[in-house]
Amino acid sequence: MSTTLASNLFVFILAAFLGYEVVRRVSPQLHTPLMALTNAISAISVVGALTLAGAGYGHILLITLGAIALACAMVNVVGGFMITDRMLKMFKKRKEK
């Protein structure tokens, strides 16, 4: 196994466990915002699309693929965080009267 693959696997395993431990304590009340938030976070794949779309060399087809991927990922980066916050803003405690 290449060292790179090995260390990536270690990172994946640890992150998956960590995600499990952290997420299982999120209250069911917030499961919908949770999905939106994780969706925004995994849109970090925008970083991969960026290097592709910005490489500027190579075939136009590849750059187009990169640009479409970038646009798709940006939808989630921007939309994901915004809608999470929009939902969370709605959760209010009883206001004292």
């Binding site: 938030l37 969706n39 970083v47 989630n76 969370l88």
Partner: protein, 479 residues
Amino acid sequence: MVPASFPALTGLVATLVPHAAPLPWYVTVIYMAAAVSFVFSLKWLNSHKTARRGVKMGEIGMAAAILATVFLPEVRHYNWIIIAGIIGSGIGILLAVLTPMTAVPQQTALSHAFGALAAALVGTAEYYSQYSHLTPMHTGAIAFESLLGYLTFTGSLIAAGKLQEVLPTRPISYPFQNPINLSVLALAVACGIWMIVSPAHALLYPLFMVLSLLFGVLLIIPIGGGDMPTVIALLNSYAGLSAAAMGFVVNNKLLIIGGALEGSSGFILSMIMCKAMNRSFLNVLFGQAKIEKAAKADDVYGGKIKTVTAEEIADILDGARRVVIVPGYGLAVAQAQHATGELFETLTARGVDVEFAIHPVAGRMPGHMNVLLAEADIPYDHLKEMDQINEQFDDVDVVIVNGANDVVNPDARDNANSPIAGMPILNVDKARTVVVIKRSLSPGFAGIPNPLFARDNCLMFFSDGKKATLDIIQALKKT
């Protein structure tokens, strides 16, 4: 190694290897900080008090990681980045601002489609830019990323279509469904393995891509609208895994972490959904729609159904101290959340103690009911989980069930022969009086009659969820 069949592409082989160069150290540090910020972002979602801070934290990490990447030396041309960035952000803003809360499930499914498509396209580009010098390991990672990405893309589109009711919500089935679906998957996997062995074969990748897209469709169409909570959670997990796979392909640990976090989150949510329906994953994915006849409906209901009017309900509520409202799938369909919020205010103003009992699978996606009720300004400390409130129904004067059915079916608890036996339910039948709002006696998702409706303490109000609620408020104002 470079076959003649890729004439247009041969020129770019070996030019696009962005991840082969090590990152500048400060970019690595920023990526680490971003990973930490993502972990805190999820941690802080644990409690209402810190949840919005968590979103901020995630945004900061994301912004830092994007900026660091944009200024990498190998990113040289910004035209496409700016154009795609603006288009993507624009769509994102529109979706985030315009989506009504009742449509959040569809919107979520769409986001999974976008995320998965991004991963799939990057996988495709990686494959075509490097096919002549791919190691088996690298091809394997690309194949994994593409398979997951394309199948999640089409699967999520189908799910979004079903949720938006553009596509039929009932399960679509045909003979030999499972064998056919599994064959398509097996073919795709075989293609992937072949690609690993000889990466430069011209037709393999397109075929692989088509099979993955097809499998995504086939996987979701047999699943009924009622199983969408589980399916959305599962697609959430897949979308995360495809992003993580992209991290393996471009060798970026931040992507792996971001993807893994979503992957396990979606996995947990689908586990919770399955448990709350007392079903297994495999049963949700591959269980054929049951064709059992709900033949005994007449036996169950015959002559035992008592209906009420809004005025009678108002009278009953007038004497109540403690009321619990059980929202269900029908409340979302009827868009009755704001009317329900008004009912909550009206009753509270009259000194009644009003709470909401929320079953984990009520609604169309995990936690959906909570978001809808929060939208209607109902304070979240009045939203109770099943386990919190289930022991207390003895002590409740009136339960109002609005558009829920299976999740309050006492057969699940009492009748070991019921198709939903063992599914945890809300024990509303223990309350003094139960008022059920639904349009007819037609069954819920499970397709079985509900003996609750025939109980002595149960009164039916046949009406649309929103109209019924408004009528009750009207009637209450007159008493």
